[in-house]
Structures are given as C-alpha cells and as structure tokens.
C-alpha cells in the first residue's frame, strides 16, 4: 500500500561545505560542522568559518560549548562559538584520529597506540597493544574504554590499578558504553558488534551486517541500541539484565534497494530516530509505529554526520560530498 511520505525538506536550511562532513557538534545554539578540509563552519545563530587544521579533521567531540577536533596535521584543537581556537595537543605531525569527552570535561585522544587523558589533575597516557580503534568514557566516574585489536582495555586514569582487558578476537574499531554503564559495545572490522556485560565479562555477539557499523546510538528511553551498517536500522534490545543476549534485533526504516544505513542518531528526549543513508537521504522515523518523514532527498553521497542538539529541537546532518543541513523542529 503506497503511502505518500510526509516531508520536511522545505524546512531544512541547506549548507554547502565544499568537502567531506566529518562530524557535527552543537556549540551553544549553533552547529559546528567539521570538514575534510580542516574547517569548522558555525551555522544557525552564529555564523563563522574557522580554519582549525592544516589538513583533514579526522574525528571530533563536543561538550555543548566547544568542539574538539583531531586532525591529520597532528593537532587537537578546541574551538568555541566565537571562533576562538585553542591547540590542546600537538603530536608533531602524527595523526590524532580519535577523540572523546568524558564527565566533567575530561578529554581523551589517541596517537597510534597511545591513548592520552587530560583532566584537572594533568595529563596521563597509556600504551594499547595495537593502534587505538576507538575511545569512550563511561557515563559515570573516570573510566575510559580503549578499543583495539583483539579486545578493549578499561582504564581508570586517576587510579593506579592495572587496566583491565576485555578480550575478543578481531579488530575493534569503535566503542560505546550503555547509558546505565552496565555494558560496553564495540564495532568491529568483521562487520559485527561485540559487547561485554561489565559485571561478569559475559560476551554478546551482534552480527549479520553487510558492512562495517559506524554509528551506535541509544534511544531516549535507553531500551534500544540503534545501529547503521545494514539496509535498515538494526535495533538491539537492552531493556533487560541480559541485554541483547539470545535475542533477535528489531529492524526499522529500510532504505531503497542497494542503499545502506550509514548514520543513525536517536532523539535525546523522544522515541524518534534520525536515519542517514548511503545515497544521502535523511529520514525521521518514529519508533512506536515506524512512521517516516523525509528530511532530505538523496544527494548522491553517503550521510557521514548526523547529530541532534541536546534539547532535541535541531537536527544537523552532513554527507561525504559536502552537503549539510539543519532542520528545526
């Protein structure tokens, strides 16, 4: 039964960035769009263009006030809404390709195998067994997960305790804690997710994806983990004590034939998902009834960045071919 898809395309403010949109974070009211040319475009409220890096921005994190960008020029730069940029670290040219923000403004980043943490008490570093694939802070306490080849390391940078190793064969490329802090989930080279229940180290395998998973996002009620990588959004149940162990995922918002979901971002307050596809299309999908609303038509290149402002009133997206947009709800 063909249904005319509702559309919000006319409400989108389109922004041409001219290069790959690597990440978007909100700084105050405005969106800070980080690009493959090392630029940060501030849009919505304030408007500015800052050349933060000499090369490409490889990764970014935001605390709501500043955007922290890691570049292939070996620099870690914090930029605020006024366009003030401050270099926080300089590796001397080696890529800084991971950055994460923790509770109370703790910052982590990595250069090759070395993970760095900077908090009030100063800077510490830890050597991982192989190049760091991903970094994530636990929601509470100062605890950093470092994803790498054959597992992940849990590190309390302020304690002298030996870091704890969670082993699972294969290359782990990204990391995320569940909002309640009970689970750690990694994305893998093997086109699967792996998870550990931290209380007892119980493994969770979440596999069957046709491509690598790049986006992980928990729904507002924290019951589902929404993921990219397949033709539809794959949602794993995290409602119960066991998480998704032995359970089937739930699927939503299939894209047109031949496309993949390349980005997913759950609304921070409502049971609503923003979904980006490999053809550049962006949709909003309601969890309760799978109702879809079109946000942006296909533009020819994969959606590479997708973010909600913390109050959930603005959605920002960007693609690999430099098409970005802001939607006010």
């Amino acid at each position: 039964m063909p249904v005319e898809t509702a559309s919000l395309t006319s409400k989108v403010r389109a922004i041409e960035t001219g290069s790959h949109v690597v990440a978007i974070h909100f700084t105050g009211e405005s969106a800070a769009i980080a690009t493959g040319k090392g630029e940060i475009l501030i849009a919505g409220g304030c408007e500015a263009l800052i050349q933060a890096h000499k090369g490409a921005i490889l990764a970014a994190a935001g605390d709501g006030k500043r955007i922290f960008t890691a570049g292939d020029d070996g620099k870690l730069v914090a930029t605020d809404i006024e366009g003030e940029a401050e270099t926080l670290a300089d590796s001397g040219g080696q890529w800084i390709d991971q950055v994460a923000l923790g509770p109370s403004g703790t910052l982590a980043w990595s250069v090759g195998k070395t993970a760095f943490v900077r908090a009030n008490k100063g800077e510490r570093s830890l050597e991982a067994p192989s190049t760091v694939g991903g970094l994530a802070f636990a929601p509470k306490g100062l605890r950093l997960a470092i994803a790498h080849y054959n597992g992940a390391t849990l590190w309390f940078p302020n304690a002298d305790a030996k870091p704890e190793t969670l082993a699972w064969k294969g290359s782990h490329l990204g990391a995320l804690f569940s909002p309640d802090g009970r689970f750690l989930i990694t994305t893998m080279q093997e086109q699967a997710l792996h998870g550990w229940r931290l209380a007892d180290g119980q493994h969770m395998r979440m596999s069957g994806y046709p491509t690598r998973v790049r986006f992980l996002s928990f729904t507002a009620n924290e019951e589902w983990l929404a993921t990219s990588g397949a033709q539809e959004v794959i949602l794993w149940p995290f409602r119960t004590r066991d998480g998704p162990m032995g359970k089937e995922p739930f699927m939503l918002a299939p894209g047109p034939s031949g496309t993949r979901v390349t980005a997913v971002a759950c609304h921070p307050k409502q049971e609503l998902l923003a979904v980006g596809y490999s053809d550049g299309m962006v949709m909003l999908v309601r969890l309760a009834d799978a109702a879809e609303v079109l946000v942006s038509r296909p533009s020819g290149a994969p959606v590479s960045a997708l973010t909600w402002r913390a109050d959930g009133k603005i959605l920002a997206f960007g693609t690999e071919n430099g098409k970005a947009g802001l939607l006010s709800l």
Binding site: S19, H20, V22, G36, K37, G55, A56, I57, L58, D72, G93, Q94, W95, D97, G112, K113, S130, T131, G133, Y149, W168, K169, G170, S171, M188, Q189, E190, Q191, P210, T211, R212, E320
Partner: protein, 334 residues
C-alpha cells in the same frame, strides 16, 4: 562507483630501491598529486605534500580463516585520506622490505569502505638484480613479493653482467611467469608503465599469457590443455605456477562450486589466481581473480566472433597439488 581512487602498492626487499622508485614517481612532471603511505615516517627523504606514516598491523579476521588477513593500519589511514577526497589523484603505498603483499591486497577486497572507494591498481615489486638470487634462497618474504607482483622492476642492472641478468630473470619467471619485468637502473622506468594498470580490475583482464624474455620465441599453445607454458629452465623449490586451459566449454554448475571449494581449502597455498572462462551456452566471458581465499568473479563482456572461446585459469602459489587441480578443472567440462 567509477571514480574509485587508484592505489599502487610498492614492495621490494630491503635495499632494492623502493624509495628511489617512490621519489621518481613523485618527481616526474605528470601533473598529478599523490598521497603517499610509508612505513617509516620521517626517516627517509621523500618530498611530497601528503605523506602518512604507517605501522604495519596485520589483523586476522575473526572468521576462522587463517589467510584472511588485512592491514588494519591501511584501513585506518585510507579511511582518513578519504576525508580529503578530491585533494589528490592517487595513493602510493610503500611497504617494508619484510612485508607480505597479500594482507595489503586483501584489504581492498575484505573491507567494504576501502573497496567501495578505492581500487587496488597493481602490486609493483622492486628487485635487486645483484642480490635477488640470494634473497630468494634465504628470505621467504622476497619470494612472496616476486610471486605476488603484477610488475617487477629488475633494478640495478648496471651492477650485473648480461648472463647474470638473464639468470635472475629466469629465476623470477620460475616463480611468476605472468608479471611484466622492466630492467632498470635507479628505477628509471616511464611511470605510465607502472600506474593505471588495473591489474585487479575484472573488466580489464584481457588475456592470460605468460610473459617471455626478450629474444625468446613464443612456444606455447597447441595442445588441448597443458600447464606451465612458460620457460622451464629453472624450477623454484617451493613456489610454482600452474596454467590450465580447456577448449571445451565448462559447466558453471560444476566449475563455480569447485573453484570456491578449492580456494576455501587450498587458499593459504594460493598467492594469486586469475581466469577467463567460457561457460556452456553463455555468450559472455566470465572472468575471475583471487588472492588466497578471496575470490572475485563476474561476467565481463560478450565473446567476440573472432575470439577463440577457450578457458584459461592460472595459479601462482606454493606446494599445491598441480595434478589434482588440473584433473578437477578438466572434470568441469560441460
């Protein structure tokens, strides 16, 4: 996507001249920009705007297959370079002298992002005309690099006599009869003979014939089927090639399960394979190429009216059972 960024892999044993070749490619007035991935960042004099240091990290895929390895560092770096898309025309990857080219090549077939946006163009191996013979005896890595190559630069020919040169070429041919050999001093070869080769591109597989040495006559090609068409003056103790041919069309329902099963079981022993196949009642050529257990195959184009409809399949590898493979191949005749 047709606009995949071409990637050329430069291999070669220590001291053969990889850095010389890299600098030659970069300094020629071709008007193209290359991103260069090197294994020793900052230690060698390479003059290029975009240069990235890599720590060679060979990762096994967690899929139970021991030869399904990828270069984790390369996936990470190519992911990063792709964010600069449009700022360069191609990528050159220089490996360490001890590197196995297989994980590098497999990365392009086993990772969806890398494979979807970049294309492995060719593996170019630089070999030292004076020292290669010794390295083939004591360094398995050197042998892998020769066996794997699409193009071999036999370098430093000014340091050997013509007899020595001929002998080292025959040693190379005993391992790899299919690579193009260029004799060079200081890697002086026109770069258009190295780049833009499409050696892993199924659409560009034209023919599969062993390459012959200068002055040799083409003495291959009358029998119904036979193997090792190339020069047989030398046998390598463990590396071998196998060339199979059939004038009778093959049954795809027999051939495809067989070849998939073969690479699944014998993959670790097969460095590379390549085939052009004629299937019964099929107007199109079927082409395939593979690296260890990774196999890629597709219909290519219609057979031309003046083209001989025969099937050719070649393998380069070590310690495989050539007679058994040949027998099984011939059993696939429709």
């Amino acid at each position: 996507m047709s606009d995949k960024i071409p990637v050329t892999v430069l291999t070669g044993y220590l001291g053969a001249g990889k850095t010389t070749l890299l600098n030659r490619i970069l300094s020629e007035p071709h008007g193209k920009k290359y991103a260069v991935i090197v294994n020793e960042f900052g230690e060698i004099g390479i003059d290029n705007d975009l240069i990235v240091g890599a720590d060679e990290e060979v990762f096994e895929m967690n899929n139970g297959c021991i030869c399904c390895t990828v270069r984790g560092d390369l996936i990470r770096i190519l992911d990063g370079l792709l964010k600069r898309r449009g700022q360069f025309d191609g990528i050159l990857v220089e490996t360490t002298g001890l590197a196995d080219p297989a994980p590098v090549a497999q990365t392009f077939f086993l990772d969806d992002t890398v494979g979807g946006r970049t294309a492995l163009d060719a593996v170019v191996t630089v070999a030292d005309a004076k020292w290669l013979k010794a390295r083939l005896k004591d360094a398995p890595e050197a042998k892998n690099q020769i066996g794997f190559a699409d193009i071999i630069l036999l370098n430093k020919i000014d340091l050997v006599t013509s007899e020595e040169l001929r002998e080292v070429e025959l040693r190379i041919r005993a391992i790899n009869p299919y690579a193009k050999i260029h004799r060079t001093e200081r890697c002086d070869v026109p770069i258009q003979s190295l780049l833009g080769q499409g050696a892993f591109d199924l659409q560009r597989i034209l023919e599969i014939e062993p390459q012959f040495l200068a002055g040799e006559h083409h003495h291959d090609g009358h029998g119904h089927h036979h193997h090792n068409g190339g020069p047989k003056h030398y046998h390598d103790e463990d590396m071998q090639s196998l060339s199979l041919r059939s004038d009778e069309p093959l049954d795809p329902d027999k051939f495809l399960p067989w070849i998939n099963d073969l690479v699944a079981k014998e993959g670790p022993k097969i460095l590379r394979c390549k085939g052009i196949l004629s299937f019964k009642d099929d107007p199109q050529r079927f082409v395939l190429q593979g690296v260890h257990m990774v196999l890629d195959g597709d219909h290519q184009r219609d057979w031309k009216s003046d083209e001989k409809r025969e099937s050719r399949l070649v393998f380069i590898g070590r310690e495989f059972d050539a007679a058994a493979i040949e027998q099984a191949f011939l059993a696939c005749v429709a």
